[in-house]
């Protein structure tokens, strides 16, 4: 057991103890009910992680999600394999099914898609794969993704308010639909903050060329800080390097996918202004509930956001995505050091928009028009819209399929560094 595992373990113990105390005080078993009331039919959830768990925010988040599911449902067993390649997906899946797996998940599209080829052979098993941009589905082949752009929009508001130099940098992987959709969410938030505060804010995107290249991500972050004078930096990659640079250069960092302070302890709220957490467990719980209910025709496209929640083993109710920092959510997720720097108008706006999105009354992609920047990624049947093209008018909700598979351009006003 490594030191970090140990501290996590201790934290879990503490939390369990606090829970116990709470239970005694409340003396009402109502909060405990969901866990105990869970159906007793055993179920095995198998996750094939495309990368290693340790040190990466993506597979690490999935791993933690599955552990929480197992905590809440004593009858759910979680098994996993790390760094599974597409050649191993099917043999691993088959063996895990032979060992009793009922739901087999690939946490990246390139290892998840091969599962579709065996979906018909195992009609009683649910297969699932994260969506990158392909939307292949089958009766028992589920595709899922969280609406991270909603949390990113909130982060954008905060980042836009925090910048003094008026420059925000994104260390990004490489142009693809997922990256551009999420960057758009963030950028809309920045623009709204700029409008409210009446200042000009540039968002610079510099691509690394891969999802996980710690060395290069570091260099890119350094360049953004020193050459483009960004004082708020965020990332669309998976390593901790941009955070490290932010800490070193004493600028604000805005995190993604996981609460890096709360779960990794990589840094402190002195550097991390805000982050957001993806609770994949909400998506997993959705599948598990359908499976336990014996549903032979589950919903095969899951695109859940702030509105969709689950209750954890400790009774906390969490949405699929939410801003989170140092284990705090909502406005409290904003670093205590950053909060005084943010004008009240913005704080209010953040709180209001979060509330609205949780109730399903508002969505940044509904509110704003999509005007093309003329940059992006030309897909086979979808060229990049010319600069200035209004692809979607304001106050219109694009379809989930379009958002997940066709959003292939940057929004006007972003600066893509070649």
């Amino acid at each position: 057991m490594s030191e970090r595992d140990r501290s996590q373990f201790v934290r879990i113990l503490h939390r369990a103890f606090a829970l116990l105390v709470a239970l005694v005080l409340v003396a009402g078993a109502t909060l405990w009910a969901p866990a105990t009331a869970a159906p007793q039919k055993p179920l095995t959830l198998a996750i094939l992680h495309f990368s290693i768990i340790k040190g990466t925010t993506w597979s690490g988040a999935h791993h933690r999600a599955a552990q929480r599911i197992a905590q809440k449902y004593p009858n759910v067993r979680y098994v996993y394999r790390e760094e599974v390649g597409p050649d191993a997906t099917v043999p691993y899946a088959k063996e895990l099914i032979a060992q009793g797996a009922n739901i087999v998940v690939g946490n990246a599209e390139f290892i998840g898609l091969p599962l579709a080829t065996i979906a018909d052979q195992y009609p009683n098993v649910y297969f699932a794969s994260v969506i990158a941009s392909d939307l292949t589905r089958k009766r028992n082949f589920i595709r899922f993704f969280p609406r991270q752009y909603q949390a990113l929009y909130l982060e954008g508001l905060i980042a836009g308010a925090l910048t003094r130099t008026g420059n925000i940098g994104i260390v990004s992987a490489f142009p693809n639909v997922q990256v551009m959709r999420r960057q758009a969410g963030f950028f809309l938030g920045v623009q709204d903050a700029a409008k409210v505060l009446g200042k000009k804010v540039n968002v610079y995107v510099k691509y690394v060329g891969d999802w996980y290249k710690p060395t290069e991500e570091r260099e890119v972050a350094q360049t953004l800080v020193s050459q483009y004078k960004v004082d708020v930096i965020t990332q669309q990659t998976d390593s901790g390097s941009p955070l490290d640079v932010a800490q070193e250069r004493k600028i604000w960092f805005v995190g993604k996918d996981m609460d890096v302070v709360g779960f990794y302890g990589w840094s402190s709220t002195d550097t991390v202004a805000v982050s957001f957490d993806t609770r994949w467990e909400v998506l997993y719980e959705h599948m598990i509930k359908e499976y336990l209910a014996g549903n032979r025709n589950p919903k095969t496209l899951l695109y859940l956001g702030l509105r969709d929640t689950m209750t954890l083993a400790d009774g906390a109710v969490v949405p699929t995505v939410d801003i989170m920092n140092n284990n705090k959510v909502g406005l409290d997720a904003i670093s205590p050091k950053a909060r005084p720097l943010i004008p009240e108008a913005i704080l209010k706006l953040v709180a209001q928009r979060r509330e609205q999105m949780m109730k399903g009354q508002w969505d940044p992609f509904f509110e704003h028009a999509f005007v093309s920047n003329g940059t992006g990624l030309a897909l086979k049947d979808t060229p990049i819209p010319p600069k200035g093209t209004v692809v979607k008018k304001a106050r219109q909700m694009p379809s989930d399929e379009w958002l997940l598979g066709k959003f292939n351009f940057d929004l006007e006003g972003m600066t893509i560094l070649k």
Partner: protein, 291 residues
């Protein structure tokens, strides 16, 4: 631009430290093609030691120690056992590549320690590397030991006949060279890029090895080569600073490696080789047995 220069200098430091160690090795006649392995191991252990103890000093010590130890192992195989130095070197590289991936994995991620303070805007290791160039030059050309090292690399039989202990001299060089390689790796993971990832060097060790060949075994030319490569590396990461919009970023990434091949080929042309052939230590890579 200044920032770019600073980063270039710091990248050069990594190349320079490792290449200086290899230069010492090769001057004594021992070829260690596993340089990258020594750097990987040095960097990994330094990172782990620093992170677990919270002390940079212990980190660097660990890097130096493992580098020296692996150098010693290479020395044992190539000096005492008189084995094929390429086999041993490649062995060390693959060994390090495999084991560091396993050992280092739980530590994947940033170092999470306050940065080593810079001196006049530059990492202290830049100054250290420059000082080491001077030191190696003084050692090789202005001391008796240096003369012994050069002689052992040129003609070990002659050195032995002159009363020099070839084995000890070579051991000294492989251990020193190994320590410098370990230091280079440690500088990488503790100062240049304090984040651990498997196979984090991605070929830097081999570029350093190539640099020794370019340098014609001269520490000053080595310095120039290392500076050039540090610059090329940085430009390949941020080409837009000088040449915006030309070539894909992926093509740029390949440029330092392609440059290495081009220079290697150039210095091997007959036109160049007449000079190069003289500079190369004559006994390089050949095991030496007393009589």
């Amino acid at each position: 631009m200044w920032e770019l220069l600073v980063r270039s200098l710091e990248a050069s430091t990594i190349f320079l430290l490792a290449a200086l160690g290899e230069l010492l090795n090769q001057r004594s006649g021992i070829l260690n093609v596993g340089l990258e392995g020594l750097m990987l191991f040095g960097g990994t252990l330094a990172f782990i030691a620093a992170q677990t103890t919270g002390s940079y000093g212990l980190g660097f010590l660990a890097g130096l120690a493992i580098g020296g130890l692996l150098g010693l192992a290479h020395g044992f195989f190539s000096i005492t056992m008189r084995g094929d130095q390429v086999v041993s070197g490649m062995g060390l590289w693959i060994l390090s590549f495999g084991l560091t991936t396993y050992i280092g994995n739980p530590y994947t991620g940033p170092l999470g320690m306050p940065r080593i303070p810079s001196i006049f805007g530059l990492s202290p290791f830049v100054y250290l590397a420059f000082a080491l160039v001077v030191a190696v030059w003084l050692l090789l050309y202005h001391t008796g030991l240096g003369l012994a090292i050069r002689s052992v690399g040129e003609n070990p039989a002659a050195a032995e006949a002159s009363g020099i202990n070839v084995a000890i001299t070579r051991y000294l060089c492989v251990v020193l060279g190994g320590m410098l390689a370990g230091l280079s790796g440690a500088t990488y993971t503790l100062s240049y890029n304090p984040v651990w990832n498997y196979n984090f060097l991605m070929g830097w060790g081999f570029v350093s090895l190539a640099l020794v060949f370019f340098s014609m075994w001269n520490p000053w030319i080595l310095l120039v080569g290392a500076l050039l490569f540090g610059m090329t590396w940085q430009l390949s990461l941020s080409p837009e600073l000088l040449l915006p919009g030309i070539l894909s970023r992926y093509v740029w990434r390949a440029v330092p490696f392609a440059t290495t091949i081009v220079i290697l080929a150039l210095i091997s042309t007959p036109w160049f080789r007449t000079r190069w052939g003289l500079a190369k230590p004559e006994a390089l890579g050949q095991p030496y047995a007393k009589e």
